[in-house]
């Protein structure tokens, strides 16, 4: 009996290793029926975990771009999307970045939602000469902080985003802002540019609390912020942490207006809090809501037709455009990483896309200073300008 039990331990250990080892599983692309040469493109994003809604929305949008390309008779190649889960962690991110970029049959990547992850992997892509389109991460340094030719980005940066966020906040009349930001580069980056811009406009940061992204208890921080009587609590971090902040604010009966950054615009935020908890929360996103984009309507129609089980979410259109640009490059110069990089580097000027014109500057960064403030209304993120808060029918919870 005792022997049996001691035997159990190694089994347990093996089981545990097996379970923890099988977390990464690349998916498959769309079907291949033609005689064209098949070209592989990688999609990398959070397919599991707290940010998976955004990741799956981006993945579906990339799939849609591949589908559209494969149904375009004029195209020379057949495309296959190889999907990787970065779990929105640097550890998994580095692993899949290496896996994708070291596979010579994969020509380029559509990568990352998390800035922290992207900052950690750009070196890998550069070393591998792997053209990469960042589809959802917004930290400026991902493109601006290096001279890597291989890194491109369609969405805007935190610098632009927070300039507009500060203007929005000021316009709404919020002057005293209490800040919580997570201590990753993502949170710090946002805070740096938000603070700069807010102060330029005469606003005041009355409390600033850096918190670790996995910190559960925020009561001490919120108590301290609340003691400064701010008229806005602004949080720089991703949706799962934002949910935590808002839940604890509610538990503490803090009625102050809550606002987040683009990372908060995730339907996960609304569903985790419920319509009651999320109502009136503010945030800002890159670009515009899909419906008001130049090619938005067609995109939504096609997306629906494909019957994906997840919504495109805030960054779906960017993932679509990124994939589309990558495919355009391959069509023009063939499946060659170096040539694709060069084409993207030099030829993307004023190209029409479903999100409008795209122009990559010398850092591969799209100069597209378009952002849209959002508000959570009835459990959904909607553009503030189109909301009942704009019309005055509803009042923000923090407004007297």
């Amino acid at each position: 009996m005792k022997k049996m039990r001691t035997l159990f331990l190694p089994i347990l250990v093996i089981l545990a290793l097996v379970i923890s080892g099988c977390a990464v599983s690349p998916g498959s692309g769309s079907g291949n029926g033609s005689k064209k040469q098949t070209v592989k493109i990688a999609f990398i994003g959070p397919l599991t975990g707290g940010n998976s809604r955004i990741g799956l929305g981006g993945r579906n949008s990339a799939r849609l771009a591949v589908y559209d390309a494969n149904h375009n008779k004029n195209n020379k190649y057949h495309y296959e999307l190889v999907e990787y889960d970065d779990e929105n962690t640097t550890q998994a991110g580095n692993q899949v970045a290496l896996k994708a970029s070291s596979d010579p049959s994969v020509i380029g990547g559509i990568a990352h939602y998390g800035s922290v992850v992207a900052l950690a992997t750009v070196d890998t892509y550069h070393k591998a000469g792997f053209p990469t389109m960042i589809w959802g991460a917004v930290h400026p340094d991902i493109t601006l902080g290096n001279d890597y030719k291989e890194i491109f980005r369609v969405p805007g940066t935190q610098i632009d985003q927070n300039k507009q966020a500060a203007e929005f906040v000021t316009k709404l009349g919020f002057k005293k802002v209490g800040v919580l930001y997570d201590t990753t580069d993502y949170g710090r980056g946002h805070f740096k540019y938000f603070k700069e811009n807010l102060q330029k406009l005469g606003g005041q940061i009355v409390a600033e609390m850096p918190v670790q992204p996995d910190q559960q208890d925020l009561n001490a921080e919120l108590t301290k912020i609340q003691a400064k009587k701010p008229d806005l609590i602004w949080f720089a971090g991703l949706a799962p942490e934002g949910v935590r902040v808002k839940k604890q604010m509610d538990a503490m009966n803090i009625k102050t207006q809550f606002m987040g950054v683009s990372g908060l615009v995730n339907e996960e935020y609304n569903s985790a809090l419920g319509a009651e908890g999320s109502e009136g929360s503010l945030a800002i996103i890159d670009g515009a809501p899909t419906s008001s984009l130049p090619g938005g309507e067609k995109f939504m129609k096609d997306y629906k037709a494909r019957k994906y089980s997840e919504a495109p979410e805030a960054y779906g259109p960017f993932a679509y455009v990124s994939t589309d640009l990558m495919i355009q490059a391959i069509e023009k110069v063939g499946p060659d990483r170096k040539k694709v990089t060069n084409w993207l580097d030099t030829k993307v000027k004023n190209i029409d896309s479903m999100i409008g014109k795209v122009t990559f500057n010398e850092h591969g960064q799209n100069d597209m200073p378009l952002f849209t403030p959002m508000v959570s209304q009835d459990g959904k993120w909607v553009p503030y300008a189109e909301s009942e808060y704009q019309t005055g029918k509803r009042k923000l919870p923090g407004k007297k």
Binding site: T6, A16, E208, Q212, V243, D250
Partner: protein, 300 residues
């Protein structure tokens, strides 16, 4: 002043949850000389098992909450016994390192099981509000009803635990066993019963901590036991492993340090864990047997 009071309350909440986990570490070490590294995950399991009872809880339903508490506690207590039979007792005569590894692995298995098999287990799960919301103010200090409930349950559980260990014959058996295993068996104490009771008790307390955590923060996630496990272990260690009061004192001390750093050091939140653990290490350098530990560390 009200700021200090408010922060004190924040710390007391944290401390209550830490202490409930810490007591288990102390009990297990006191009686069996093991450090049960999956204990934090047992606490997490308590919260998730409680979620199974959610359909019967309408907001603030007293009966529903009671059923949820008791149901989760009983199930986790039984699982605790099962776990001790699986990974701790079979290794009792092996080197300590084996037990350590086995409990670490068990924790991993528990976490992965929730992550993979609980619907949507990778994400935070909404936890029901089981105490009345709202609160009252006295002299600028706002006290929430849920805080009062958590504190009351915590204190009641501490007192009950101390009474069980010090005043009941079961508790006497545990203490006797922890002081001299063989002698206690010569007096009629059943070893397997003592181990079962110890694990049931420790695991039940962890489950309570998990449920309180859930309702206080209104969400639970499969990794929550990692933090509470490490902090619970540290708290039990500085309190003096084996001492129940020590574990309680250690839990509150840890919470007070963390909260003070967050609240009173500018930008301190970022370093609150580093500082809290640092203080713990310093403490152990000067008092290796912990605050309430005696020369050879008082046992249970």
């Amino acid at each position: 002043m009200d700021m200090i009071g408010q922060q004190l309350m924040n710390a007391v909440m944290l401390g209550t949850m830490y202490s409930l986990v810490a007591i288990g570490f102390s009990l297990f070490f006191g009686t069996m000389n093991v450090i049960h590294f999956s204990h934090g995950d047992i606490s997490m399991l308590g919260a998730f098992i409680a979620l199974f009872f959610v359909p019967i809880i309408t907001q603030y339903s007293v009966l529903g909450s009671v059923i949820m508490f008791i149901g989760a506690i009983v199930i986790v207590a039984v699982l605790g016994i099962f776990l001790s039979g699986l990974v701790i007792q079979p290794l009792q005569s092996s080197p300590q390192l084996y037990t350590l590894l086995a409990t670490l692995e068990a924790g991993l298995v528990i976490r992965e099981a929730i992550r993979l098999f609980y619907p949507g287990g990778k994400m935070s799960q909404k936890f029901p509000i089981i105490f009345p919301s709202g609160g009252f103010s006295i002299g600028g200090l706002t006290i929430r009803f849920d805080q009062l409930f958590i504190l009351a349950i915590g204190v009641a559980v501490f007192v009950a635990t101390v009474l069980i260990v010090n005043k009941t014959s079961l508790g006497m058996a545990i203490r006797a066993y922890s002081q001299d295993k063989e002698a206690s068996m010569m007096m009629g104490v059943s070893e397997s019963k003592v181990i079962a009771v110890t694990f049931a008790l420790g695991s039940a307390l962890a489950a309570i901590a998990g449920i309180l955590h859930g309702t206080y923060y209104r969400e639970v996630i499969y990794t929550m036991g990692l933090t509470s496990g490490i902090i619970g272990f540290s708290a039990a260690t500085i309190g003096g492993l084996g001492s129940i009061w020590g574990a309680i004192v250690g839990g509150y001390l840890f919470a007070f340090i963390q909260t003070s750093v967050s609240a009173f050091v500018p930008g301190g939140s970022e370093y609150r864990d580093v500082i809290a653990f640092g203080v713990m290490i310093l403490f152990l350098l000067f008092r290796p047997t912990g605050i309430l530990g005696e020369r050879q560390s008082e046992r249970v």
